[in-house]
């Protein structure tokens, strides 16, 4: 059968590669993941890209895609994430209460606070905690979460606001604190099922308990089946 | 027959040139910066004069009044540039054959002959970069000739060549011009070369034609001499070999008498051209005795040109023959030289410069 093309946010690479691998073994259908920034993928889908499934890193781009499609498409969240503060390892603890300006040090790496989902969530969180005004001058923004993480890993920034899934995969950083889930919009990865006939079973697999366990093992938060 | 009538303005000089070049070799003579290269460029189509008309035989090369303009590639001329302009990326052979190939001709029949004549056979596989100045120029001459042009334009082609090579090449150019009927427009500042080659001479001075006409007339014109440099003034005399004497002297009949030339290898009956420099001609009112009795011709003063310096140029005529003599102003006054005065031109046989010796219509291999 034709491979299934999954357009997915680049930060999902590790977990989706593994899922694709398993699905190919299971169903005999190849899954070809196409990774890029959510915005890039969304625009390409609107322009007619041959995508069967679109997994965005935020609802802004999944909503945007839905608006551009001339047919209805089912959407569901397939994973969540937590926003954490990382510092250069070793160091850090995992408390939630101790988020103070001092924790961040002189330079805070984030995704673009107006554009990159992790940056947007991060700014919301800092605002909710009443720290944004004070910390904004210390913020350095990268074009994606991965760039922010690299700033910390390279020692260029004293701290970074990234996803928990990213922090888990980078051994050079340690989590210093986790933002309360209530301090920002819920972090979800919405999946837009563009070709239900072709990609539906794979999406089901991602939502299954096996799929959710896989997400969890890469540091994502599982979601209840059917929610989002 | 080449007709040129052009006007063009450079910031520093205004060209206003009009002349006719009949068959044969036309030499453009003039000082450095007078406009010789510009004229030849206009004929080649490289310089597009502001206005004017140029035609070669029936073909109109340019006619600004009618907006006519033939691009260089269709003019079918062979141009030897003043600065050689060899193609640096092509071998000497490919440079030489460039024109023939463009015109879809095979290797021209005279290829080998020309290689020998120009002494460049050993260079054909080299590239221009390492060639000496003279070698470059010889290749450039070959390149233009091998393009089988309808007309040959040569801008000081011999300037970088030694006498020996020159002596071999000049007859070849003559043969090309006369034998194959390829007209030649030849730029030089060397009057001896002009005298040797020219059928027609066009003297250019400061962007204007100072004089033009048959070579003999122009070279014997005292008005022209100052333009070319008085030092180089001299006339061309046509003669016919009468007899070669046992003592090596060749007796030549010219209008007005006989001349005796040493070391001339022409055969009786042949027509030859002699060059007599003005400084080698003395004027005597009485037939001199005791001096060289050999080359004394009765003549009449036909023109007098007093220059700004201490010298005067006197034109002497007998029939169609004209001579130029350079005398001091004092002598001019002392002898009372004026137009119409009969007198004697005293010239030594050997004053007929070797380089100016020229077989008319001869066609031996160079």
């Amino acid at each position: 059968a034709e491979p299934i093309r999954v357009f997915a946010a680049a930060s999902l690479r590790d977990v989706l590669d593994e899922a694709a691998h398993r699905w190919a073994a299971r169903a005999g259908t190849e899954v070809v993941p196409v990774y890029a920034g959510s915005g890039t993928l969304a625009r390409q889908i609107a322009a007619g890209a041959p995508a069967d499934l679109f997994i965005s890193a935020n609802t802004a781009w999944s909503d945007w895609v839905l608006g551009k499609l001339n047919k209805p498409a089912p959407v569901r969240s397939i994973a969540g994430n937590r926003l954490v503060i990382v510092v250069l390892a070793p160091g850090g603890n995992t408390g939630e209460e101790s988020i103070t300006p001092a924790l961040f040090g002189p330079r805070i790496a984030m995704g673009l606070v107006e554009a990159v989902p992790a940056g947007i969530y991060g700014k919301q969180a800092l605002e909710a905690l009443g720290l944004w005004q004070e910390l904004a001058p210390r913020v350095v923004q990268a074009d994606n979460v991965r760039g922010a993480l690299a700033f910390v890993a390279a020692g260029a920034a004293s701290s970074g606001i990234v996803y928990q899934s990213d922090a888990a995969a980078e051994s050079r950083v340690a989590v210093a604190a986790r933002f309360p889930e209530t301090s920002h919009e819920r972090i979800v990865y919405p999946a837009v099922l563009l070709e239900p006939d072709r990609a539906g079973p794979f999406l089901e697999f991602l939502s299954s308990s096996e799929g959710q366990a896989l997400f969890a093992s890469f540091g994502f938060l599982p979601v209840q089946a059917g929610s989002g | 027959m080449l007709n040129v009538d052009i006007r063009h303005d450079f910031p520093a000089i205004r060209l206003n040139i009009r002349f006719e070049a009949p068959e044969g070799i036309t030499v453009l003579l003039g000082r450095s910066g007078s406009g010789k290269t510009s004229v030849i460029n206009a004929v080649a189509g490289i310089l597009r004069p502001r206005e004017g008309k140029i035609s070669l035989g029936e073909r109109v090369l340019q006619d600004s009044a009618r907006g006519a303009w033939l691009p260089p590639r269709e003019r079918n001329l062979g141009y030897v540039f003043q600065e050689s302009r060899l193609f640096p990326h092509l071998s000497v052979r490919d440079n030489l054959l460039y024109g023939a190939r463009r015109r879809g001709l095979g290797i021209p029949a005279e290829f080998q002959e020309l290689l020998q004549l120009l002494d460049i056979a050993q260079l054909v596989d080299r590239r221009p970069a390492g060639l000496s100045g003279g070698e470059r120029q010889r290749v450039a001459i070959g390149r233009a000739m091998l393009a089988q042009p309808r007309m040959l334009l040569m801008d000081e082609p011999m300037a970088a060549l030694d006498e020996a090579r020159k002596a071999e090449l000049l007859p070849y150019i003559e043969r090309l011009s006369k034998g194959r009927n390829v007209p030649v427009l030849y730029v030089t500042h060397n009057i001896a070369e002009a005298a040797r080659l020219a059928d027609t001479i066009v003297v250019i001075d400061g962007g204007q034609v100072a004089a033009s006409g048959p070579a003999g007339d122009i070279l014997a014109d005292p008005e022209v001499a100052p333009v070319l440099g008085v030092r180089a003034a001299g006339a061309i005399v046509q003669g016919r070999v009468v007899q070669v004497h046992g003592d090596g002297l060749t007796e030549v009949a010219v209008d007005g008498g006989r001349l005796y030339l040493p070391g001339c290898d022409a055969a009786p009956g042949e027509s030859i051209r002699l060059r007599v420099e003005a400084q080698d001609v003395m004027i005597a009112l009485e037939r001199p005795v005791g001096v060289s009795a050999l080359n004394i011709l009765p003549v009449t003063v036909s023109a007098v040109k007093s220059g700004q310096g201490p010298g005067s140029l006197i034109q002497l005529a007998n029939g169609g023959m004209r001579l130029l003599a350079r005398v001091t102003k004092r002598s001019e006054a002392a002898l009372g030289l004026r137009v119409g005065l009969p007198c004697y031109a005293v010239l030594k046989s050997v004053s007929v410069a070797r380089e100016g010796l020229h077989r008319v219509g001869g066609d031996r291999p160079g």
Binding site: V32, Y35, R43, G48, A169 | R73, Y79, F87, R102, A129
Partner: protein, 235 residues
């Protein structure tokens, strides 16, 4: 580099194909454009010049986005090409080559133009007097004398095409086996923490390829230079 798996080899091969096609196909157009800019006298020359430089000035993403808007299957031009010529660019390697070619174009044009402007026009004139028409002058004189610039342009363009990322991923996405080039693969690895080694390995491959291309071009241009000869080469 022993560690390259089949997938990586595919990426390398695809990159070479895309960069090669981009470079070779843009060459004639680059020569033409260089000619127009160096020799032409026409209205809108400055505009043409500016357009040629655009891909350099704009963030690559913008160029890619513009290409997407033009050549997507849903866009008029894309649909036209698709219908009339069966030519799909979006999300195909051909599109990647187009993006790479466009991004590399200004580099190629400049190099060629510089060489062109350094040619002594007297040589072309000499060829004309020897009966060469415009085409022949170009083919036998101008083009060979432009070789240093053409070579330099090819190398620059090839290197740039090999490294092009932003416009490519924006226009044709990151489809394995179709549009996933070396830089995109490297980017993908870099998007996930802990994959630096894999990214580095591919970066080495990119460096090796471009080193080979540079060595080749230097070798050729040394030969060309030798052919043209130096005034005082003997010194």
């Amino acid at each position: 580099m022993s560690g390259l798996g089949a997938e990586e080899w595919q990426v390398v091969w695809l990159s070479l194909k895309i960069a090669g096609v981009a470079t070779l196909f843009s060459l004639p157009l680059a020569i033409l454009t260089a000619f127009a800019l160096a020799r032409g006298r026409f209205r809108g020359k400055a505009l043409l010049n500016a357009i040629v430089h655009l891909p350099l000035v704009l963030p690559p993403v913008v160029t890619g986005y513009a290409l997407l808007l033009l050549f997507a299957p849903n866009a008029p031009l894309g649909a036209f090409l698709q219908d009339q010529f069966g030519l799909t660019l979006a999300f195909r390697w051909t599109g990647a080559a187009l993006a790479a070619g466009i991004m590399a174009f200004p580099l190629m044009v400049r190099a060629i133009r510089l060489s062109l402007e350094a040619i002594d026009p007297g040589l072309e004139v000499a060829a004309e007097t020897l009966g060469a028409g415009r085409g022949a002058v170009f083919a036998t004189i101008t083009l060979p004398l432009m070789l240093p610039g053409i070579l330099a342009g090819l190398v620059l363009a090839f290197a740039k095409a090999l490294g092009e990322f932003g416009a490519t991923i924006t226009f044709v996405s990151n489809i394995p086996g179709e549009t996933r080039t070396l830089p995109i693969a490297i980017y993908s690895y870099l998007q996930v923490p802990g994959q630096e080694a894999a990214a580095l390995e591919l970066a080495y491959v990119a460096v090796a390829i471009s080193l080979a291309a540079i060595l080749l071009s230097e070798w050729i241009s040394a030969r060309v230079a030798r052919r043209l000869g130096g005034q005082d080469a003997e010194r």
